[in-house]
Amino acid sequence: MVLCLNLFSCRKVDPSWDVNINAPLLKTTMDLDNILPDSLINTNNDHSLSLVYSYSFYNFSFDSLIDMPDTLSSRYLPPVNGYTVNPGQVFYNLTENNHLSFQGAQISGVDFHSGYITLEVFSSITEPIVVTYELPYATRDGIPFKVTVTVPASTPGTIQHYQNFFDISGYSLDMRGPTHLNSNILTSTTKAMLDPSGNGYTLDSSDVFRFNIRFKDISLQYAKGYFGNNSFAFGPDTTPIDIFNKITSGAFDFESIKLNLNVKNGFGVDARVMFDQISSINTATGHHVALNDPIIGQAINISRAVETGDHANPVTPSEYSFNLGNSNILDLIENVPDMISYKVHVDCNPLGNISSGNDFIYYGNYLDASLDMEIPLSLIANDLTLTDTVDFDLGDNPNTIKSGTLTLLADNGFPFSAKIQLYMLDENRQITDSLLFPDMIAAPDINAFYKVVHPKRSVLQIPLPEEKIPRLYEMKKMLLVARFNTAGAGHYVKIYDYYKLSLKLTGDFNYLIQM
């Protein structure tokens, strides 16, 4: 009909009218999977759920154990006066066996996972120079590392600066030297000759020819040797823990918590580890809770990992687990921490070179410490407040919704009551308005075993008066604040895998149609 009327005339003004639309808008069904990742949830035999969380708070990495030196060689041509070099003539040829320093470690060989060799040449010679750099004991597929570059001629009175990078990933470097009896030896050969296609050149005492060779961004795939008897101290340091980061206030009380401190050694090095301190920190409240357990301050001897010979999985780490069940771990968790503080001592090879130079490390296999928690979801929540900010963009305001009422139909199968508040945020995360549900999502009835009998329906309405509509369209983010209280009158209630909360949002809108 409207189409008819539209074509019938050449209207300049569009007609408009109100309609009342009552329609479903959004729906969602939430179980614990929607709130926590599947990987964090464990279903027990009785269908009750546990929160399983592994938190690595300390990692003793490769670089901490072996610090590769940067500079491989830095040489220059001594001053020469009146010596004429012909095209194609080698005027610099040096083979050297440099002893690299590894902080007490005696390294017999390394494999490079990634990284570069940087070749840098400074030259005042006004003819092109062909430079060859070779590491005869660094091989890939049996072929030694060798690069040849041409350094452009400098202009008279200036110094030519040449620099290039060469990928060394995949190379194996034997550091035992020419005799194969030493360690930390880097054998290299550097040659320089005048470009055969150029002209001859007569050196004088003011000429400069200097080169620097360095490692850059080196990461080792493998290293072997004796890594030394070194002590390392780490901390006090903090590392964030995100599992509770949406809880902004309130309290929860877990019935029990299982917690293990795990230490895993992927190095082929014996170690002695001592945790001087582990604490949970709630930065919002400033509250620190220190772990009180015999493991604190106790030296733990950790044996070396074992090489498997399997290229794909070359290491079997040695693992140690310490039960903290008799500690004050409940206090640590109920502190709702967002940071973990620690202080650790690590001694490598406390008994010396008992491997006869067969310590090893493989890329990706380190020494780390983690806390493995299993928290049965049997708890009491008291005004436990979860806060989250979600993106929300309804697009441009077409001035079509005049007013209305949002209705939230909640079928709650969790043994919680929930009070939900929504705040509208602008692009700067400033609150511009609120959508407050006057009522709460009621907790369902529970039986003598503190199990939910049937989900309970709550109907919550938010009036949307005309003045709130523009702000709804201006909203770029929504701050969701949900405050939970468990049913059960102070008893612990378990969360089961079949508990669900079904939410449906419907809208009763007065809508302006504009043709």
């Binding site: 074509l7 003004v13 009218w17 109100d18 808008l25 979600v390």
Partner: protein, 425 residues
Amino acid sequence: MAEKNKYIYKKLVLIILLNTAIASSGFAQLYPTENINDSKYCLSLNAELEFNSNKVNNSFAYDFYSGRYLDNSKKTTALNRLNATYNLLGYQFHADLYLGIPGKKSNISYYAGFETHSLMELRFNRDFFQLFFFGNKDYTNKFLILRNLSLNYLNFQQIKGGINKTWEKKNARHTLTAGIGFNNGQSLMQYNLPYGTIYTQQDAEFINIQMQLDMKRSDTANSKFGTENGWGLCGDVAYTYRDDKNVFQCQLEDIGFIRWKKYSQCYKKDTVVYFDGIDIHNLVDISGETISGKGADSIVNAFAYSKTCAGFTEMIPLRFYVYYKRYFFNHWLSLAGSFNHYFFTLYRPQIRIIPALNIPLKNAVISIAPSFETGGYGQYNCGLGISAAISDKFFIELQTAYLNAYLNPKKSAGVGGFISIVKTL
């Protein structure tokens, strides 16, 4: 006050314009008329515009036309006038330009011309109006039933030529007319919904839509005037009898079709849509894109046109027209009656009575003809036409069939007019 004056002024302008563009007996000038000497070349121009409804009154239509806000009072008044199941609203516009060509023999003449047609018609029930203008809230926990809905929109042009053969017998003149034409399909859109229901659950937890849909439309890439989105052929036949006191005419006009081209779309759907809200898997992912993009897909897909294209053939509106006029008192008075119907449209058979006062002047006849009609897209209408025939060389007619709707827009419907100008060359 100023706004009211402006409203009245606009309304008067509309009435005057439509009265001077007016309406009715209208048929293309391919058939001989009693007012023009058909032994000479003649040029004719005819235009007819009709908007009418059996239930939607002019007041509501005008408020819509003028872009006014349709408040609840206006909508309720319009709603209360509607039939529960059958309401019709239609718009037609036809214009033609013809050249009459005398034959070498006195009893033969020819014609050639161009016609353009626009048609828009809608059949709906009261629930549809309720849904469209009031929304679904009043139908919460009830079935909103859509039955026999139909929307047709058609634009096409024609080039026609034909022959008139005339013979006289016992002081009567008989004429047989036959012609053929080429149809150019500009645009077509058809929605037919034999039956559908919309159910909104009591708490608006879900909306259940069940509909049978039959949809056709031509290529939408271009639908401007003259665009060839389809083509077809048509034929016309007519018989005319005329003696001193009687005129009788019977026509079958536009017996033809248009084959809409391969980029047209056509299909039937029996669709059920259960919509209970946009499914948000993750409450922290309520983005506008989620809502506007994914959310409405199920509904949009249910009613959207298919992406597959195929040509189809549709008949064009076929007009059947019968007309009889009797003169009295030495031609001073006449009484005419006509039956008019368009097949393959929603148009209902229309009957019209036209008494006329024919005033002879020196070389002319001026006719003043009120009209009374029922049927078509409307219910009952009365109108007035004025025509002048001058020396068998020039004829002009202005007519509207909707005086009652102009004078009483709150209770009547109908806007339109007919103009015919014929001149010998």
